[in-house]
């Protein structure tokens, strides 16, 4: 979906994380949204109303379409959160479930 211009094949700058339970990697300086876009993901979630697929629109924190679950916390704006090593990112489906 997006490709990186600067070829930073420097291991120190790579960040390992999990995406929907599977190993993935991004770069230092990525937001979670940027990392997912660089991995080719266009859709991050399904809407609460109709289940339509959505991806980021604005990448600046206003559209709230890039919502993912990070380390168990839902409704996180992926474009505002810096990627950290070991993060568990899950793409969302439908409305957030209340913990019982």
């Amino acid at each position: 979906m997006f490709r990186r211009l600067l070829d930073a094949d420097e291991p120190a700058r790579e960040l390992a994380f999990t995406l929907d339970g599977r190993p993935a990697s991004g770069r230092e300086g990525d937001t979670v949204a940027a990392a997912l876009l660089a991995l080719g993901r266009r859709a991050f979630r399904r809407t609460a109303v109709s289940g339509a697929e959505r991806g980021p629109w604005c990448l600046m924190g206003v559209c709230h379409d890039c919502l993912v679950t990070v380390d168990g916390i839902g409704i996180v704006q992926a474009c505002l959160v810096e990627l950290r090593a070991g993060m568990a990112v899950e793409t969302q489906t439908g409305p957030r479930e209340v913990q019982r």
Binding site: F2, R4, L5, L37, R54, L59, V62, C63, H64, V81
Partner: protein, 476 residues
Amino acid sequence: MKPPAPEYAVVVVGAGPAGMAAAVEAAVGGASVLVVDDNPAPGGQVWRAAGAGPFTDGRVLGPDYAAGGAAVREFAASVATADVDHLSGAQVWHLDDRLELGLVLPDGRGVVVRAGRVVLATGALERPMPVPGWTLPGVMSVGAAQTALKAQAMVPEGRYALAGCGPLLWLYAAQAAAAGAPPALVLDTSSRSNRREAAQHLPGFLLSPYARKGLPLLLRARRAAPVVGRVDGLHIVREGEGLLLFWTCGGREDAAPFDQVLLHHGVTPNLNLARAAGCELDWHEDNACFVPRTDEWGRTTVPGVLLAGDGAGIGGAEAAASGGRIAALAALAELGAITDDERDEAAAPLQAERARWLRGRPFLDLLYRPAPHFRAAEADAIVCRCEEVTGAQVAEAARLGATGPNQLKAWLRCGMGPCQGRMCGLTVTETIAAARGVPPAEVGYLRLRTPVRPVTLAQVAALPRTEAERRAVERL
């Protein structure tokens, strides 16, 4: 990151050009200053990652962006010497007329901060562009692509198109081309009928710094990719793994496949926090948007709350920096840190500088104001992305008696989703106006309330409360 103090003389919301300038000026004036910003690093949108991003020279992003780096470094120096407290990755969800702010810290904790004065430097966002298919994955705003370029040095993969109008569209085309990834096609929706009205303001534009910057940029941008002008209709559908973009020019329709489509129809003030704090809004016909009312100092209709930068009216980064300093000086005078005479003397050159830049805006605003049929949503276009409400539903509700956005909200939920009207507010107003046959100014804008961003019950419940407050609720 240490938590903020419970009280500051000046709290600045936003660390873009206006916010950084306001903070530094207020600190120089001796005030205790807190800057709260929701991004990981200062710079706002226009100077995103300018201090420490992947592009430090002007080769790809241009000299203005490189100049932003200096402002970011000056701000960082103020923070380092502890003149200014800077909370990054934090969100303001509440501001009231007692000048109390509710914040969510990056670790999720909620805190309350009291301010002597508040300077809102909350900037702008792109105008919604409700063409059918704009919610499909793979469709993003031009500003989003520019953000990815500045902060992560990323460009769209494959074939992509730009569609819309406005300076940012051309700026991104030039930047992406300089980065080796030009768009495959540019669809220019700028309306010919704007030209005569804009032309009256051409002298002001030519006398402003915009002319010197803008014309060479426009030439570079137009050489970067094939351009189709006079586009008066757009829609996007999924096709296989990609998208099919349809456009019309005076009745003739064309289509082409793309991996991604980037849309842009100008920028408008990001007014949610100001509105929820109680600031009155005015309709600005030139830029077809609502703007919180301010005086020449940036004072809003809420005493103690000032507004600077693009959030007070689109003027660009340089005008924003001047405006931030002017608002800080006004705040310092109100707090008694400087006299009114000192304030006036310091502000005079800043006001002149700001005027120099703003002289060029009416021409740009009018030239690139999107045509009315693009501002009101078509029947099958989604107006409210969060609640998935279409143009047809909004127009029908308006005809049935929902005369304004606040009644419409009760019927259709537009404005109730997580984005709180940022993506639909203007479209709702324009669509109702078109359905009723009245001007947008008469329709008005969504009334917004705290919280202006989603917060959890736990965050609200954990806020400190006094014994009196507890008793008032529990009635013990």
